[in-house]
């Protein structure tokens, strides 16, 4: 098992429920600014794109952390890889913020690095996403689904050309 947080941009409506629930779970308040997942809505193209930590295989934030606060663990139940922050070890130096090319780690009001921890194995954003744009699935399944979608489209045009 190797579960991952999968994003389907085509389904995202930009409702920000993921941000609301994320901030609520981690900070007990509704505040998209403190969420660890962010959805950018491109109003003029009407496209919404959720961005969240991809739990890098070779995480730069982990590599650069001078206090050893960031480590990668594999969750026993789901096999999900999580790059996580040990709040007791974090000194708030923000090197991880500099290192992350995607802006998916931040230093919050508590002076400690904050990032997606997959909610310990049951991501709340996935639970509440109303259109299923966010899913917590086996990594392989995600690709299978994409391939099947493409295959369906190809099959459709093949039938038409027959």
């Amino acid at each position: 098992m190797n579960k991952v947080l999968a994003i389907d941009i085509g389904k995202c409506t930009g409702c920000h429920v993921c941000e609301l629930m994320c901030s609520f779970r981690h900070h007990g308040e509704f505040n998209p600014r403190r969420a660890r997942i962010h959805t950018t809505v491109f109003l003029h193209d009407e496209i919404a794109v959720p961005v969240v930590c991809s739990q890098c295989e070779d995480a730069w934030c982990e590599r650069i952390c001078p206090s050893g606060a960031i480590s990668t663990v594999v969750m026993p139940e789901t096999g999900a890889r999580v790059v996580q922050v040990d709040e007791d070890l974090c000194v708030g130096c923000k090197m991880c913020v500099l290192a992350c090319p995607f802006g998916n780690i931040q230093v919050g009001a508590a002076g400690c690095a904050e990032k997606c921890d997959l909610c310990g194995g049951d991501p709340v954003c996935v639970q509440f996403c109303p259109r299923g744009a966010l899913r917590f699935v086996e990594a392989e399944d995600r690709e299978v689904e994409k391939r099947q979608k493409l295959a369906q489209a190809l099959a459709g045009s093949y039938r038409e050309s027959e």
Partner: protein, 690 residues
């Protein structure tokens, strides 16, 4: 710590450029928030002499305690001002992303007073509040304004409400736009902002919304989401959307009413088929912040661009004006959004002109040489352009239907007008152009007549709506339809205790349903969530759900009865405002020409045709439920006192509008002989135990 609320109401005096704040909690318990607190602020701010487009008018933007939380549909802001359209209370509600952001900045309401000397925009970033020069933005579309402001502030996350050129040009039915597809569209709120030289309100907030009991609040939100998602109608709205439902309504004759449609077949090839348009140009469903429903659709049309469309927009600039060109329709919708003008008002105004033209009452010489032929592409586009620019004949139209009728009446001899004012032919309530919803249906006529802000949406009796239109919902079998109709009938009976309440062909029980609907939608409006999630759209969030979320969030007990009472209270505040502006029983009506005429086409052809007597009887029942005087429609002194509005009761008395109990009884006895009036109760009409 302040839970759920941002905590402050921000006052901005545009004339002096100064700001002040006041605690929201002064109002919160009694009026909850959103439309509720807005109404109270408006009652204290405007009077009969207030010029809607003068510096003495006030415009209020209000969020609710649940705005910005994970409660379903938590995206709404309510905008209130004195309306340049009706001269009464103006009110419009907007979704999108702005309301939540205002809460995150620490504010619940923003009140704008006075008039800025030159174009400005209000910028709020947490505690920073400033008026910035908007000279460069003046004349820009709503789409562009948002982008330009985000660029100027170097903040792509800034949330913007803005007016377009129509608002700047003081077109009376101009709108305020938020994120694409969202507008505070009705009653001319954009013109008020334009008159104050305010181009936009820009907000960015980084503070959070804390709740008193996170666990209980989460449970309340989950329960509310489950309720919405478990509703029968959810799948329909969620996957097919309300524009499709709108198409169904049009085919059934529920939508696009009016004489203009009689005997006309403008679309024999079925070009207005919404599904065909959606399949070709639609690509995704979308919705507002925090919404599990997603009632809106994304479209992209090559050469025109992308936008978001929902619901009634389908009907107006197609069927109402006999235009079968869907690409033209799409371009016009986009133009309305970019220019900041109300699609409904514009379409119904054009429809009126076309009808007058068809009847031979007006000709091109009165309309800048534009021949107002039914469905004429040239006429529609030219009239819209001129109205937005407030130029030529457009300057007459920009003043609204009544002003336009005065102009026509001065130029057209009486015999050509059938001995009537041209105003008689206009589809309006208190000068507010009507929706496409057909006022010839029993409870629709009541919804229009008593509607706050002079339209039907708030109090719309969707029960009746559905029981007659269900046959055409896509994807529903005959069995589904029969089930839905039966279900709605049962609910109507349960609510009113009247056997035929769910029957479309009678006035029985309609006042109860309309009254109840007003209470339900009022609760959502006060909470800052979307009224579509109430039983109004069969998504069935009930007072219990709001009360549970408010209790958990605020850390004090709020009962379902509390929120219902607050809704009744707020409606009385609004009625008191309108009464102060001059609204009386005789203003609660639909256009005279619509009486006693059956629906002219569709599945509903030949049905209904509400008579004046029908409507007056329903009004009697409705006023009785509300505790309003039957003779005048003014809230009775005791009603206001019972609602906890003694100061307003006394105020009305001082203005000579207060009706002492003995006067009322006399008035009531005249009209409703033998009818016993009682103080209003939210639960009234329900059978015991329901």
């Amino acid at each position: 710590m302040t839970y759920l609320y941002g905590g402050t109401i921000l006052w901005v005096d545009l004339t002096t450029g100064t700001t002040s704040i006041r605690s929201t909690l002064d109002y919160a318990e009694k009026y909850i928030g959103g439309r509720g607190i807005n109404a109270r602020l408006m009652y204290d701010a405007i009077g009969p002499d207030t010029d809607p487009l003068g510096p003495d008018n006030v415009i209020v933007f209000g969020t609710g305690p649940l705005s910005g939380t994970a409660f379903p549909g938590c995206s709404r802001a309510d905008v209130m001002s004195k309306s340049p359209v009706t001269g009464l209370l103006g009110d419009a509600n907007i979704g999108g992303d702005w309301a939540a952001e205002l809460k995150y900045a620490g504010y619940d309401h923003v009140v704008l007073t006075g008039r800025a000397e030159h174009p400005v925009y209000l910028r709020i970033r947490n505690d920073l509040v400033e008026l910035r020069d908007a000279g460069e933005l003046w004349g820009q579309t709503t789409y562009e304004t948002r982008r330009l402001i985000q660029d100027e502030l170097d903040d792509p996350e800034a949330k913007v409400l803005s007016i377009g050129p129509a608002g700047e040009n003081l077109v009376s039915f101009a709108t305020i736009h938020g994120s694409v597809g969202n507008a505070a569209a009705r009653t001319g709120m954009g013109a008020v902002l334009g008159s104050k030289n305010v181009k936009a309100l820009v907000v960015r907030g980084t503070k959070g919304i804390p709740v008193a009991d996170p666990e209980a609040f989460l449970e309340a939100c989950k329960a509310a989401h489950d309720q919405v998602k478990g509703a029968d109608y959810y799948e329909e709205v969620h996957t097919i959307g309300v524009t499709n439902a709108e198409y169904a309504y049009v085919l059934s004759g529920i939508e696009a009413g009016g004489d203009g449609h009689e005997g006309l077949d403008f679309d024999p090839e079925g070009r207005t088929d919404y599904n065909a348009f959606w399949n070709k140009h639609g690509y995704k469903r979308t919705g507002c912040m925090g919404c599990p429903v997603h009632c809106m659709e994304n479209y992209s049309v090559p050469g025109v661009g992308a936008t978001v469309i929902s619901c009634e927009l389908y009907t107006q600039l197609t069927w109402e004006v006999q235009n079968a060109d869907m690409l033209l329709w799409y371009a016009l919708i986009r133009q309305c959004q970019e220019m900041g003008i109300d699609n409904t008002s514009m379409a119904l105004t054009i429809q009126w002109l076309m009808e007058l033209h068809a009847l031979g009452i007006i000709d091109a010489s009165l309309t800048d040489g534009i021949a107002m032929e039914w469905g004429s592409k040239e006429a529609i586009t030219a009239i819209m352009d001129r109205t937005i620019a407030n130029e030529g004949f457009g300057a007459v139209l920009a003043g609204g239907m009544k002003a336009t009728a005065e102009y026509f009446d001065a130029h057209v001899p009486e015999e050509r007008r059938g001995g009537r004012s041209t105003y008689w032919y206009a589809m309006q309530v208190n000068n507010n152009p009507m929706y496409g919803i057909n006022p010839r249906l029993t409870s629709m006529s009541l919804s229009y007549a008593i509607g706050r802000r002079s339209d039907c949406i708030q109090d719309l009796d969707m029960h009746q709506f559905d029981s007659v239109t269900a046959p055409v919902y896509p994807g529903w079998s005959e069995e589904d339809r029969a089930h839905a109709v039966e279900h709605e009938r049962e609910l109507a009976y349960e609510l009113t205790g009247k056997e035929r309440a769910g029957d479309p062909d009678t006035t029985e029980g309609k006042a109860d349903i309309v009254h109840d609907m007003g209470i339900q939608t009022g609760i959502a409006d006060m909470a800052g969530s979307c009224k579509w999630h109430t039983k109004w759209l069969f998504l069935y969030l009930m007072p219990e759900h709001y009360a549970a979320a408010l209790s958990a969030g605020l850390g004090r007990t709020v009962t379902p009865e509390d929120v219902e009472r607050a809704s009744l209270r707020v409606r009385n505040v609004e009625r008191a405002i309108e009464v102060k502006m001059g609204r009386r029983r005789e203003n609660d009506t639909i256009p005279e020409k619509e009486f006693s005429k059956p629906v002219s086409r569709g599945h509903m052809k030949g049905k209904h045709g509400v008579s004046r007597e029908d409507l007056e009887r329903m009004k009697d029942e409705y006023y009785t439920l509300r505790g309003w005087d039957l003779r005048t429609g003014v809230p009775r002194h005791q009603t206001l006192v019972d609602c906890g509005l003694k100061d307003i009761a006394d105020d009305l008395a001082e203005l000579g509008l207060g009706l002492e109990p003995f006067e009322l009884d006399a008035g009531g006895a005249d009209l409703g002989a033998g009818e016993k009036e009682t103080a209003p109760s939210a639960r009234q009409g329900r059978r015991p135990g329901t």
